[in-house]
Symmetry: C2
Subunit: 409 residues, 2 copies
């Protein structure tokens, strides 16, 4: 029995359901149906109706962030291909494209497949597609979506892609991924030139551009220091572009940049495209890096939070919420922040719970109260949820499926 | 277009598909169909066919762990209700019940619903069900599965459950959850007695037992020290059981225990049931705690791993695999361990990647090679995957859906 059948067959006892309705009169079954189908009767539901832990998007802040970044890219004459590993949500990828983005980055082939199935165009797969079965998937994807671009950093992989493309009688667009200190790639300079020349020599792969992602630069605290680190990291990428072009090989783009370096890398000649992700949501981590005007990073607003419920209050000075390791990312050295209650601290309490305290004082919440937390790191947090609830103020305006959740293959 | 439709409509170019077949001649589309439907033609597929990152279960080790724990519980005359938050997989819950378990714990109501829909009986929901909509769900679940038990630790919540049960003309089984230093619960002693007396006084809730989970004891390193911590934590729970019984109220069970304390808590009179989880899989964290016979914890075998692929080799001494924060839990201070290659270290490289090194020496792998890692912490890692691939040696014997993945509500 699947979930929907279960809910349908469970409709048995009207008295019981009525007993549990909220002030608007909806039962949970009615609410769940509205949330699942996105039939929200504009504003009928509020955040009080969401089952916690719930991933919430503040639409005003999100739209402001999208507008800020797309306007910035346009004004600086840079293409923008925001990274879909952050949101994993086709609705968001399409919203960004409507606002002016060139397309979407996808971290892996399985994520790209989901985006493409749901109408996202202009996909750049930022990790090399390795192994015969994944190459089969890449060829199939490119057969249906010829504008897809695949990152490469290895000669044998390029030959394998070329052979599979030839057998399918198609061409594959590839981007040479450069190692600039983090993530993946081939060494800039001669090694990258050699790979570009191999691509030029093969009939069924076509050089679409270069990729250089300096992840170690993106979270450097302090704008000037971050600028220094990013410029040092990206310089070899720009030099490699010039080197390849000097051999008569066209390099249509060089893509780089992150939420921390979008306004640094876009000042570098030769970097033609930005692929930031976190700017649309923001998180505790990016909030710390500082901006051009001081120690607070104000470029983008916090749009993402997780709503929890207090499920236990063992003592006056301690309460327990229903979100733990499975509700929040845990890869950063910070905990979730409840910005609505100054002085409240969140401490991990295992897979399913968090303990909140007020420094020895009574915690000003009771069982049943709801607390929203800003999350430490957006990407792996979003990857824990199947839906993102989109709110306008307190009202649920949309529910978007995180359709590529778990697609790390 | 859903995933299946996409795969079906994508069948276009036979030449392309053949070009990408493996040695057994299956294309990726054929493999994916077998994996999705569990039609595995016994041993036709091997781990080389799995799309990485892939969550793998070593069935020999898993079956050995299940046998060890169920036999232990039986010999010590304790009920065993393994915690389903570890596996989130109805097939595993049912395998444990077939081996002798009383039922399954579920961390939250949404997890319990999925287990119940898939034929798991004897469910204990270990977190209080708070809020009118979740109580509506609890009443619905109990209407269909009357043996379900709900944890409670708050008087108003007990009254709310009673009222909802009365409106639905059913009874709800409840277990008083005791705060023994971690997770959730009401204070042992008089407060717990008061809650038990309230339950006794209400017509539609019924006291099924007590719960006391001392999570802070489970990972104490060294058996004797762990025993000391657990006995101190559990003593008030046992005293509370005696106190409630002394007032003429029956307490059918006291459940506690973890993978680290199953053979400690089961020696304590009054603890009648164990609810360990990790024993079936094991992880780096539990491997460190030490056993009765020394510093190595040999009670259970490591059954769980994540298979990755080397997708980049930027330099001779560094390689990059396709598993990062979205492939492994990150809540512990250890990294994944590749036990097949001594000296190899894994370092986090973001959401999608890990960097492997050999201490300055050449890394003995190339792009396309596959490396399996033992994971730092099993529960939140399993929660990242939709399927668990069950292997007998190198052969894929079954694919189980992690149907309650993401069900933290």
């Amino acid at each position: 029995m699947n979930r929907r059948t279960f809910l349908a067959t469970a409709a048995g006892t009207p008295a019981m359901l009525r007993a549990a309705t909220g002030k608007h009169g909806y039962t949970w079954m009615e609410i769940e149906k509205m949330l699942e189908h996105g039939d929200l009767k504009r504003g009928a539901l509020t955040r009080d109706d969401l089952p916690t832990p719930a991933l919430m998007l503040d639409l005003d802040a999100f739209e402001s962030n999208v507008s800020t970044m797309t306007r910035y890219a346009k004004e600086h004459n840079r293409a923008l291909r925001p990274h879909g590993k952050t949101h994993k949500c086709p609705e968001i990828a399409k919203a960004l494209i409507r606002a002016g983005a060139t397309g979407a980055c996808a971290a892996k082939i399985s994520e790209a497949e989901v985006f493409a199935q749901n109408g996202v165009n202009g996909i750049l797969v930022t990790t090399a597609v390795v192994g015969k079965h994944k190459i089969e998937r890449a060829v199939r994807l490119a057969s249906q979506h010829p504008d897809t671009i695949f990152s490469v950093d290895n000669a044998q992989n390029v030959r394998d892609l070329n052979d599979a493309a030839a057998a399918a009688k198609i061409h594959l667009n590839v981007a040479v991924d450069l190692w600039v200190g983090r993530r993946t790639g081939i060494k800039p300079g001669e090694p990258a030139l050699g790979l570009a020349q191999l691509i030029e020599s093969l009939p069924n792969v076509k050089l679409a551009g270069l990729q250089a992602y300096a992840g170690h630069a993106s979270h450097v605290i302090g704008f000037q220091e971050r600028k220094k680190v990013s410029r040092e990291a990206m310089a070899p990428a720009v030099e490699t572009r010039l080197l390849i072009e000097s051999k008569g090989i066209a390099v249509p783009f060089l893509t780089g940049g992150s939420t921390g370096t979008y306004n640094i890398d876009s000042e570098i000649d030769g970097i033609s495209e930005l692929q930031p992700g976190s700017f649309m949501f923001m998180d505790v981590d990016y909030g710390r890096i500082g901006g051009q005007d001081g120690t607070v990073y104000r470029d983008f607003r916090n749009a993402l939070s997780v709503l929890t419920t207090v499920v236990s209050k063992p003592a006056d000075e301690v309460a327990v919420v229903d979100g733990g390791f499975k509700a929040f990312s845990t890869d950063k050295p910070f905990t979730p922040e409840a910005r609505s209650i100054p002085g409240l601290t969140y401490n991990w309490a295992g897979d399913e719970h968090g303990i909140i305290k007020m420094g020895g004082a009574s915690v000003p919440v009771n069982v049943g109260d709801r607390i929203a937390f800003v999350i430490p790191h957006c990407d792996p947090s979003v990857n824990l949820y199947d839906r993102i609830y989109c709110l306008r103020g307190d009202h649920v305006e949309a529910v978007w499926k995180i359709a590529a959740r778990g697609m790390s293959q």
